[in-house]
């Protein structure tokens, strides 16, 4: 069905990079999300303000602008700053790193909202009981709050993942060899752009379909574990 002058296996192999960036960005997003959710209920006003600014700004600006800003703007900013101090530096960000950090940072804002909701759904009695048992704050977080929050957060995190993996297609514009970029190369070389991009879209569709099944399975398992 897809001949593409031998480019088909190359595009399929590029799925590895898409999934790698996706997974790395998702882990980063979860870390940002947990930090953000913690910051949103912090006792210091400036920490709360910072977290609110983070979610407000990131959710209000297109991913493309943030990606371009980080990949092209950030090195320029550092270089200009160094120049004004009398140094000459040349910063070259690795596309994989830039993509992972940007996507992780963006979806961290969405994870923040997911975790905020999840922690809010844990009955306060749980924390009080942990305190009464003499657990330290960290132990309480690790043993009592986090496992329960994960249970509430799972559907939301699944949805973030589905959007995140599709957003990785954007990284092709900063030259990372993922599905989209390989499809573009194949499209130019074979002059069959429709076939190449259609194959790329089917690969993304496959990832989405597998993720949907996985999410369903995971939620069922966790729901089972939740019933005592």
């Amino acid at each position: 069905m897809f001949e593409l002058g031998g480019y088909t296996p190359i595009i399929i192999a590029a799925m590895k990079n898409t999934l790698l960036v996706g997974l790395a960005a998702m882990i980063l997003a979860i870390v940002f999300g947990l930090l953000g959710a913690w910051a949103k209920v912090a006792s210091q006003a400036w920490v709360r303000g910072l977290a609110n600014t983070y979610t407000t700004v990131v959710r209000g600006v297109p991913e493309l602008i943030l990606l371009l800003l980080f990949y092209y703007g950030f090195p320029q900013l550092v270089q200009d700053f160094a120049e004004s101090m009398g140094y000459e530096v040349l910063i070259d960000i690795d596309p994989f790193l830039a993509g992972t950090i940007t996507i992780g940072f963006i979806y961290g804002a969405f994870c923040t909202e997911v975790f905020r909701g999840a922690f809010a759904s844990i009955p306060t009695g749980q924390a009080e009981a942990a305190n009464a048992l003499g657990m330290s704050n960290f132990l309480m977080f690790r043993r009592i709050l986090l496992p329960q929050a994960m249970y509430f957060a799972l559907p939301g995190l699944g949805n973030v993942w589905m959007v995140l993996i599709k957003a990785t297609a954007l990284i092709s514009i900063i030259q990372l060899d993922e599905i989209m970029r390989m499809a573009k190369i194949a499209a130019n070389a074979t002059r069959e752009p429709f076939t190449a991009y259609f194959l790329a879209s089917l690969l993304f569709l496959g990832i989405t379909a597998v993720s949907m099944v996985g999410q369903h399975f995971l939620e069922k398992r966790v729901a089972k574990a939740g019933q005592h």
């Binding site: 600006v61 297109p62 800003l69 092209y72 297609a169 752009p193 429709f194 991009y197």
Partner: protein, 230 residues
Amino acid sequence: MNMEMLAEFGPRLLDGFWVTIGITSLSVLIGLMLAVPVALMRLSDLKILKWPSYIFIFYFRGTPILVQLFLVYYGSGQFRLELSELGLWQYFRGAYFCAVFTLTLNTCAYTAEIFRGAIKSVSIGVIEAGRACGMSGILLYRRVILPQALRIAWPAYGNEIIFLMQASSLVSIITLLDLTGVARRIISETFAVYEVYIFVALLYLAITYILAFIFKRIENYLQRHNKALS
């Protein structure tokens, strides 16, 4: 972004702003008109209606918009002869048409899914009451089910419009000079990378929250019957 630059590039950014708004509104309007029949097809008991809309929604929600854009804009070139014979090539060769075409189909799929959920959650009692009053078919949908569904769907639909407005920044990749496209063009001339991107990011931020504010007002208006009770 200082005053000097703003004076120099302001008019072009304004043009870009209108392109962004134009593409978004066209896509949202046509997408909405198509979404209602697609949602109804999806809810139909007839397999011949249900499956095509299911596949359409699954495809457009399961693939990145960037891929869809490239598929239409670059992909149509592969069928140039066929499209020329049908007299459609003159449309597909233009980036603006391709952008609106793709974003319309994309938002149509998401909107249909939102409406499907909303139509399903219209309470059965209301529909029975409509039937008891002698309404059926199109009249029942027009007067009872769709207005109720719109009320339920509105918050999610508002988010979808905002999402589409942001996603429209991708059309800059297929050479269109929307807000993002203009920013990239200005940067290639001035090398003022972060100033311009930060300024444009703030513009998008403003558009997002102005839209969010308007949609909230409309939501309050749609929910006014609930407010009177509480």
